[in-house]
């Protein structure tokens, strides 16, 4: 049963991240996703310090504030201070992350969150934190549903709802910001909506899977799907499927070589991307090579 919960946790995180990741990859903002996932760290600790509990609401607010602050700082540095974009991203998130690590060392015992957890997450412990029990009878008997499953399901529903309701503005601001502005859709507004959602997703996934797997799930499945299709709806669905597949295969890989589950899932994300990179029918390197050879 534990294996099931762990894979389900991974799949839920993978699905939320993959959906948002599609927009990040298409908007050429993949590194902003990386930056946000590091920059929410001080927000998490400030929320612990101010609220004194590990309850989710102040945590979410803290993380969202710092995630949006991070994108805001990046914009400020590029637009106002005229710094080149890559340096602005690098400077901002390392600065916020450094503050986060300082807070983490200072208040580690207080927040019960150490540095390892920030990077790896504690996906293996997810099944032990039972939130609800459900007696469904039959062969399974009492179902002990972990807290993380509840939170991450709610997150996924939220992300799907956002994309469902805001499909059109997100679509237009992603592919043709000039046209969006012309017909009165605020690109800035949707930019911050997206960034806010990415921050929330990052922080909710953080405790379960760690910073690195969040980044891998944000960028990997979306980039893989991007190699397979030209249509956004197909890309979204493919990305989710690839994410879930990575979670399942990653779990077995981790069990097989007795290592970190998050690390293994990230490894599989890379492996699947590698397959698509070479063997994708439309954009794979081998397929392209073939067609070139046929033409000549």
């Amino acid at each position: 049963m534990d294996a099931f919960w762990i894979i389900l946790t991974g799949s839920l995180v993978a699905s939320s991240c993959a959906l948002l990741g599609c927009y990040l990859v298409l908007r050429k903002m993949a590194m902003v996703g990386d930056a946000i996932s590091h920059a929410v760290l001080p927000g998490i600790f400030l929320a612990y310090m101010l609220a004194g509990t590990r309850s989710s609401v102040p945590l979410l607010i803290g993380a969202a504030v710092f995630g949006v602050l991070c994108t805001f700082l990046i914009e400020l540095l590029t637009k106002r201070m005229r710094m080149q974009n890559d340096a602005a991203i690098g400077l901002t998130f390392t600065f916020l992350f450094a503050i986060g690590v300082i807070l983490a060392t200072r208040f580690a015992s207080y927040a019960h969150l150490d540095q390892d957890c920030i990077l790896y997450g504690e996906i293996a412990y997810v099944p032990f934190d039972v939130g609800w029990t459900l007696d469904i009878g039959g062969a399974i008997g009492v179902l002990e549903i972990p807290v993380a499953i509840g939170i991450l399901s709610a997150l996924l529903v939220g992300v799907i709802a956002l994309i469902w309701w805001a499909y059109k503005p997100l679509f237009i601001t992603t592919f043709d910001p000039a046209y969006a502005a012309a017909i009165g859709i605020s690109t800035t507004f949707w930019h911050y909506v997206l960034m806010g959602t990415v921050s929330l997703t990052t922080v909710l996934s953080f405790e379960s899977v760690g910073a690195i797997l969040v980044v891998a799930f944000l960028i990997g499945p979306a980039a893989t799907a991007y190699l397979l299709t030209d249509r956004l709806p197909v890309m979204l669905i493919l990305a989710v499927l690839i994410g879930i597949l990575s979670a399942i295969l990653g779990y077995w890989l981790a069990v097989w070589i007795n290592g970190s589950i998050a690390g293994a899932m990230a490894t599989v994300v890379g492996g699947l991307f590698g397959l698509a990179l070479f063997f994708s029918p439309s954009y794979g390197i081998i397929g392209k090579h073939w067609r070139k050879a046929e033409l000549s």
Partner: protein, 430 residues
């Protein structure tokens, strides 16, 4: 205070190693970072830093020892590999460089974590300490580490001095460098190698994420102060060194505080400070320049206004005008107009006569005339050479009249054969 003196005296060998190590690392990463920054590859440092981990683990698994040199070789190999993979993905597929960097860094790091945890799970007692590659342990730097930093710094400085001109060309104009026959590929490899080496060595002191800051932030801060590459490299090295000292000091006075993150915080503060106050490129300097330009435009517009009133009306170019008269001819926020009139009086371009009346001085009249002349010359130019309809040229001329230089004016006049009137048949004043 006692603390500070004790710290500065470097009498504690532990402090000596940490300070010396951080200073050397700061210098190295400042110098190397300047080039990656200028080549707009700042985030590659982040990718290299993450990709070093699997190499360290693999080296340990193969060799079974924690010999630093052996681990360094492994780190350098995978760091290099990540650069090749990123290049391959972004050149050979439709994936953009940013996604390629993010993907490679997270996957390489994931593989590293997987290997690391697998080693830890294998019960091999020799593995303890490998995880300092994750977060860095600046406080535990020892004599041999400082030696490694010192050698790295010396080698790197030598390479940069030897190839300074070549690296400069590579950073600013690779196409030109290629065309004059420089071995671009080789230079790129040399530069990438010293970058990977710096990261692989530095990571043990400050950790994965913060190592990328060591590369990016000093260079970004230095860029605000100068346009010269040499000065920028030196400044970046100094910033790196200063923050190394300050970071070490903070963690010395407060033992619970980690050195690496404090170094980065100090560095970031230096960068923010530079953005605000640096001459020319800083925000404050930019603001002053902008204000000065704005004032100049206001003043020229007022002088022009005196000329226009006389031209359209009584032809008395030196007559005194009241505030209301000026406002009736051109829309001006009253406060700005008053301020500009005062400034012009102070510059002796206007004379204040009686109560709220102003008239042009000799020089003021000349200046006003010139602005009108430039405006009309530009209108002639636009209609004659760019074939723009006469009723569409005014707005552009309104902007250009403030920026045309005397040399350009002479050139325009000659090109247009000293026209007497503008496209609206107004006289061009001489």
């Amino acid at each position: 205070m006692e603390n500070l003196i004790e710290f500065l005296s470097l009498s504690d060998p532990n402090v000596r190693y940490v300070v010396l190590g951080m200073v050397l690392l700061g210098i190295c990463s400042g110098v190397v970072g300047s080039f990656t920054f200028l080549r707009k590859r700042a985030l590659l440092g982040d990718a290299i830093a993450h990709s070093v981990l699997p190499g360290v683990c693999l080296a340990f698994m193969i060799g079974g020892t924690k010999n630093p040199l052996f681990l360094l070789v492994g780190a350098t190999i995978t760091g290099w590999l990540s650069l090749i993979v990123i290049d391959f993905i972004s050149n050979r597929s439709r994936i953009k460089p940013d996604a390629a960097i993010g993907l490679v860094l997270s996957v390489f790091f994931g593989v590293g974590i997987l290997l690391l945890t697998s080693i830890q799970g294998s019960g091999n007692a020799a593995q303890s300490g490998l995880d300092k590659f994750l977060f860095g342990k600046a406080a535990s730097l020892i004599g041999s580490d400082v030696w490694v930093f010192g050698i790295l710094c010396a080698v790197m400085t030598l390479v940069v001095i030897l190839f300074f001109k070549e690296f400069k060309l590579l950073s600013f104009d690779p196409d030109f460098a290629h065309s004059i026959g420089l071995p671009i590929r080789l230079l790129e490899i040399v530069l990438a190698t010293i970058t990977v080496l710096t990261v692989a060595v530095g990571i043990q002191a400050v950790g994965v994420v913060l190592m990328s800051a060591m590369l990016i932030t000093p260079a970004a801060a230095a860029r605000y102060w100068t346009d010269k590459l040499f000065k920028m490299v030196i400044l970046a090295a100094i910033f790196g060194a200063i923050s190394g000292i300050l970071g070490a000091y903070v963690s010395y006075t407060e033992t619970a505080m980690p050195t690496g993150p404090w170094v980065i915080v100090v560095l970031s503060l230096i960068a923010f400070f530079s953005m605000l106050v640096a001459p020319k490129r800083g925000v404050w300097a930019q603001y002053v320049i902008q204000k000065r330009n704005q004032n100049k435009i206001h003043q020229e517009n007022v002088l022009k206004l005196f000329y226009h009133i006389a031209e359209k009306g009584d032809q008395q170019f030196r007559a005194a005008r009241s505030l209301d008269e000026l406002l009736s001819r051109r829309e001006f926020p009253t406060s700005i107009l008053k301020r500009t009139l005062t400034a012009l009086t102070k510059k002796e371009l206007l004379d204040k006569v009686g109560n709220n009346q102003w008239k042009l001085t000799d020089e003021g009249e000349e200046r006003g005339k010139r602005v009108v002349r430039l405006h009309r010359l530009w209108e002639v130019y636009l209609t004659k050479y760019l074939r723009i309809a006469p009723d569409h040229v005014h707005d552009d001329a309104e902007a250009m009249e403030h920026v045309i230089t005397p040399e350009l004016e002479a050139e325009l006049d000659k090109l247009l054969d000293y026209p007497a009137t503008d496209p609206h048949d107004s006289k061009i004043p001489r």
